[in-house]
């Protein structure tokens, strides 16, 4: 008897299912159908499963063990609130992104009535409230907690991850309100120290216990075992697993609306003469570029192309189609834009060097993560996978002599996620890490 594991991704556009033979560690079949989250999520799921059943025997037992992730219904929408923009606000932002969230807004300092009204109208799934190092400023986080306590029902789940000294007072502020408040560890307990992992776990827990329900995806639970994480979080989990075996890694995921970049790397300066400055960044870092999308942000992308690719631009703009590119010109245009997305998204994600001139001569200062030593770069998502020359697109993630101060990977190996296997690897990573890794090694195609 084969040991079949189903892995599901409820995306906003497609519901994807991968059937894996765990014994032989092989993908038996995959299927992709339009998502039906708006009506009944199980309809799409049943359809995807029935398509699979042409190739795989799916028993009720197999179904009941299926694991899923989801980015449907707008993804996991988080509002981040901190005190100082470059410190606790940034730390909260890193924590939310690392948990697979979509940061719909970020605020710093004491919130005004107008800002709090904005938060209410955004109706986020989770509000992440940070502010103050432990023992540091209490005033701002308490002020912001008071404002949040008086918000309407659109604000429900609040994770407090700031100055622990303020927690007793914050608990008093929220007591008697219908808010669901979770107290996590401070995302920035001291200056220069980032502690985002506990907060990330809390976000994931709320996602599983509450958000899935609210988004109408929970109905799928009647068919499968559980929806255990947001999809971006599954991808990050997969990247983390791959890094443990193969060394530091990056994953680039350009899409229709945004481009995600994940790096699993320490990012310390690779040269002894470089001094690190600013907030340290997490070992597992995820960024989302909200303006880099091939479909919903095409106008802005074309603006960028005009600026960065002045020679190619007329050709790109002249042969950009809405549909599937077919002619060589259309393929060229699509490839150039996809590469630009990869290039710019990784530029923003990677650290950079800055030369400063001092009485003692020139010195180099590093902001962010040095990714020059990253060994593998994995490309996933339509714009790369369906490109006519995917390697060319993915090479946009590598170090460029033209921008020598941007610390991107110098000599990475490139891999392509042709089978959309990354989310499945991430879903399996905790229960069967060995098999998940084998799966990744088998199905990520070196290019």
């Amino acid at each position: 008897m084969t040991d079949i594991q189903l892995l599901i991704d409820f995306g906003s556009t497609f519901t994807k299912v991968v059937a894996v033979d765990l014994e032989r560690v092989e993908v038996l079949a995959t299927s992709r159908v339009p998502s039906t989250v708006a009506t009944d999520v199980t309809i799409g799921l049943e359809e995807a499963l029935s398509r699979l059943s042409h190739n795989v025997r799916i028993t009720d037992d197999v179904k009941s063990r299926a694991l899923a992730c989801s980015s449907a219904a707008g993804g996991l929408r988080i509002v981040c609130i901190g005190f100082v923009t470059e410190l606790t606000s940034k730390a909260a932002n890193l924590a939310a992104l690392g948990a697979g969230g979509k940061v719909v807004a970020g605020y710093s300092y004491k919130l005004s009535d107008r800002e709090i009204a904005e938060v209410e109208s955004l109706a986020p799934d989770i509000v992440l409230l940070a502010g103050g190092t432990d023992g540091g400023d209490e005033e701002t986080i308490i002020h912001n907690a008071r404002k949040l306590a008086r918000t309407c029902d659109a604000v429900k789940h609040i994770i407090v991850a700031g100055n622990k000294t303020a927690y007793d007072e914050i608990a008093r502020v929220f007591s008697g309100t219908p808010k669901h408040v979770i107290y996590s560890r401070n995302v920035m307990p001291e200056i220069g120290v980032l502690d985002v992992a506990p907060c990330r776990e809390e976000i994931r827990r709320i996602f599983m216990q509450n958000i899935v329900e609210a988004k109408g995806i929970a109905k799928a639970r009647s068919l499968i075992r559980d929806i255990i994480m947001p999809t971006p979080s599954a991808v990050l989990e997969a990247a983390g697993l791959i890094a443990r075996a193969l060394g530091e890694v990056m994953v680039i995921d350009p899409g229709g609306a945004t481009t995600d970049v994940h790096s699993i790397a320490r990012g310390n300066p690779s040269r002894p003469d470089v001094i690190f400055t600013g907030l340290p960044e997490p070992y597992e870092k995820r960024t989302v570029e909200g303006d880099l999308g091939l479909k919903y942000n095409l106008d802005r992308l074309l603006e960028l192309a005009k600026e960065r690719l002045p020679v190619e631009f007329p050709k790109i703009a002249g042969s950009m189609t809405e549909g599937i590119p077919q002619t060589p010109e259309e393929l060229f245009s699509r490839r150039q834009l996809a590469r630009l997305m990869v290039e710019v998204a990784t530029e923003r994600h990677a650290g950079r060097l800055e030369a400063v001139y001092t009485p003692a001569g020139e010195r180099l200062i590093q902001h962010g993560k040095d990714l020059t030593g990253v060994k593998s770069v994995i490309g996933t998502g339509g714009p790369i996978v369906f490109a006519d020359r995917p390697r060319e697109v993915l090479e946009g993630a590598a170090y460029s002599e033209a921008r020598p101060f941007i610390l991107k990977p110098r000599e990475p190996r490139f891999y392509l996620d042709t089978e959309y296997i990354l989310f499945a690897v991430g879903l399996l990573a905790r229960s069967s890490p060995g098999k998940a890794l084998e799966l990744a090694q088998k199905y990520l195609k070196p290019i």
Binding site: G135, D137, E139, I191, T277, P359
Partner: protein, 141 residues
């Protein structure tokens, strides 16, 4: 019980002379302060951000390379803007280029918003004694 006073140390601007601020940080710790040690080459903006987030009671800057005046030109306006008018500001070292009468230097830096100004080679104990006196006067110790 009063909160343990939090102080920030570091060399300002592009100054990399880190020994003085290290010695001072250790002495402050031994005297019972909570020390946020930023090390060398700390920008004026970073001192401000860190003071906000840690609700620091004092900032103790060092500078030996003579450029402190330029580095701190608009520091006072910035820190007032950032709501840090109650933070004590101390600075010590070779604060200007060339020979200068220390009285003049002191006057210059007091005009930039500093509460106390020290010449090079001041013992940490001197500054710490002043700090305790100033914090007590403000009811923070």
């Amino acid at each position: 019980m009063k909160r343990t006073p939090t102080v920030i140390t570091g060399t300002v601007g592009m100054d990399a002379h880190v020994i003085g601020t290290k010695v001072l940080s250790r002495a402050l710790r031994e005297a019972g302060f909570k020390v946020v040690e930023l090390g060398m080459q700390v920008t004026a903006d970073e001192f401000i951000r860190v003071a906000q987030e840690t609700k620091a009671d004092a900032i103790l800057m060092s500078s030996l390379y003579g450029m402190a005046e330029q580095d701190l030109k608009d520091f006072n306006q910035k820190r007032l803007e950032a709501g840090l008018k109650d933070v004590l500001l101390y600075i010590g070292g070779n604060l200007v280029i060339g020979r200068a009468d220390f009285k003049e230097v002191e006057k210059k830096f007091k005009a930039l918003g500093f509460d106390r100004v020290y010449p090079p080679e001041t013992d940490p104990e001197v500054g710490i004694a002043d700090l305790i006196r100033d914090l007590k006067a403000r009811g923070k110790m």
